[in-house]
């Protein structure tokens, strides 16, 4: 999830792009951290800012770009950022989803897409990968990596590229 992300679409894929990938690696049934991310996604799809914040620590560090913008630090700053995002995302348009993930002791790695419509009508889809670091069951650091020019172009009204279509036309992780 980032300031730029969230969305819609069901791109039918420039199919072959990911066809060489083996079947999705299934998570273990002991998955502990992924349910927290699922709760965040469910809250954000309802534009429930406090529901998202309930899953993060007070001193959360949210690095929601691959290094092109400074980190958002602390729950209050995250609340402001989410509130600003909420104002520009069309309600009900959010199709944020995760394609695959893995967990280590206190970290969840994921690959997914932020897909949403802006209230001004543009459709945005940003494939990304990232990691969540946990402390006491809450997310304490959140890092996302993607090419910021993809979101900038789509916000400016440019159509989805074949590369993006291919990346987001994948089954959702379970």
């Amino acid at each position: 999830m980032s300031l730029d992300r969230r969305t819609l679409i069901t791109a039918a894929a420039a199919a072959g792009a990911l066809s060489a990938a083996p079947a999705l690696a299934k998570e273990t049934p002991m998955s502990r951290l992924f349910p927290v991310l699922e709760a965040i996604i469910a809250a954000w799809k309802k534009q429930d800012v406090e529901g998202v914040l309930a899953q993060v620590t007070d001193d959360i560090i949210w690095r929601n770009s691959s290094g092109y913008a400074p980190a958002i630090r602390g729950k209050d700053a995250m609340r402001s950022a989410l509130t600003n995002m909420k104002a520009i995302i069309a309600p009900g348009s959010n199709k944020w989803r995760i394609f695959d993930y893995a967990e280590s002791a206190d970290r969840l790695f994921m690959e997914g897409v932020d897909e949403f419509d802006l209230t001004t009508g543009q459709h945005v889809a940003i494939p990304y990968a990232g990691s969540l670091q946990f402390r006491g069951g809450l997310v304490s650091e959140w890092r996302e990596y993607f090419d910021g020019r993809i979101s900038a172009n789509m916000k400016a009204g440019q159509p989805m590229t074949d590369e993006v279509k291919a990346m987001i036309s994948r089954p959702v992780a379970r």
Partner: protein, 143 residues
């Protein structure tokens, strides 16, 4: 250390030695390599991967590619790291990224690196590393 991560370390070692055939020896013939996922079309097949590596070879020097964190699920490896090198004209490029590698047996068959090419372009133009990039790089290397 996970099985897949051990293989990636061999790839890194080969690339730091500029050993292109060593890198390719860990790739499946059918590899689909998204070296800038969603931003650029992928490279498909080992022959195309060789061409890309040859292109990189000429412009990447003092390679300090390193991984900060990783986890595996089945035949898939997730990682966070940095591509850190000096260009032929002396510019430092250090792009934080997250990657996902799919394995078939011991060979990489899918490779997706998520990186902001805008950050790399600024650095290649001579802009110093930003504080937010420096912070992303200021992490211990994963064992």
């Amino acid at each position: 250390m996970g099985r897949c991560y051990g293989i990636l370390l061999k790839v890194i070692e080969a690339w730091q030695a500029k050993d292109i055939e060593g890198v390719l020896s860990h790739m499946d013939d059918d590899i689909v390599w998204h070296y800038a996922a969603a931003a650029m079309p992928p490279v498909r097949g080992k022959a195309s991967a060789r061409k890309l590596l040859n292109r990189f070879h000429g412009d990447m020097h003092a390679i300090q590619w390193r991984i900060f964190a990783h986890a595996e699920s089945g035949n898939r490896l997730f990682l966070e790291g940095v591509d850190d090198y000096t260009t032929a004209d002396g510019k430092r490029v250090a792009t934080p990224y997250a990657g996902v590698l799919d394995f078939r047996g011991d060979l990489i068959v899918g490779w997706r690196d998520y990186v902001d090419l805008g950050v790399a372009a600024e650095q290649k133009s001579g802009t110093p590393l930003t504080p937010q990039v420096e912070m992303l790089l200021d992490r211990p290397v994963a064992p």
